[in-house]
Assembly symmetry: C2
Homo-oligomer: 119 residues x 2
């Protein structure tokens, strides 16, 4: 939608938040993917929901696991129900903490912004 300069919108804060350890390691992307695994019990369904290939999703998780030094998901191949993937306890804890960090950070940034830029 075209907007006139200086009209139709007011100034607001923008931000992106992630975690670093041996480089950028955990952000919205891996967070959403792990949440999908948790919800569906399946990495391939979680990947599809994010328009990623299974290979991409698996590669992302392995890269993050390598940097962190511990597993985030465990997968069972085959079997009567065709296997599945679940978060490890460490994966669940990290996801929960990241979500909390993100939520509290968002609230703090909005409050600080209001203090400084509010009329």
């Amino acid at each position: 939608m075209e907007e006139q300069p200086g009209e139709g919108e007011t100034l607001r804060p923008g931000y992106k938040i992630w975690l670093e350890e041996n480089g950028r390691v955990f952000g919205e992307g891996i967070g959403d993917l792990l949440e999908g695994v948790s919800r569906h019990g399946s990495l391939s369904r979680a990947a599809r929901e994010m328009n990623m290939s299974y290979r991409q999703a698996w590669g992302l998780i392995r890269m993050v696991e390598d940097r962190l030094g511990y597993p985030l998901i465990h997968s069972q191949a085959g079997g009567g129900r065709g296997g599945g993937s679940h978060l490890t306890p460490e994966g669940e804890t990290l996801l929960r903490k990241f979500r909390l960090f993100h939520k509290r950070a968002e609230a703090a940034l909005n409050e600080i912004f209001g203090d400084i830029f509010g009329d």
Copy 2:
């Protein structure tokens, strides 16, 4: 430097903060450029310090001014001392508020991170 997975570093927060108005409008880049103009009284010197061409720097400032709807710098061409550029009062105010927002946001994010991820 190569690091072993999970060693040599601990988890820490990462973030990028900016202002939005009709799109992403004001962040570190334009902030540093305006600070350089304020320090040097010269857009070309400020640009050079950031390894930008004068044209790039001028284009960035015009884009931000268009989105905000007010001028950030005013320039005097020629004259005995070869002209120069200075921040407008609105430009000074915005830069000062952005720096304060950034500083307070950084402190808040570190504190929240420590609360959640600290041992």
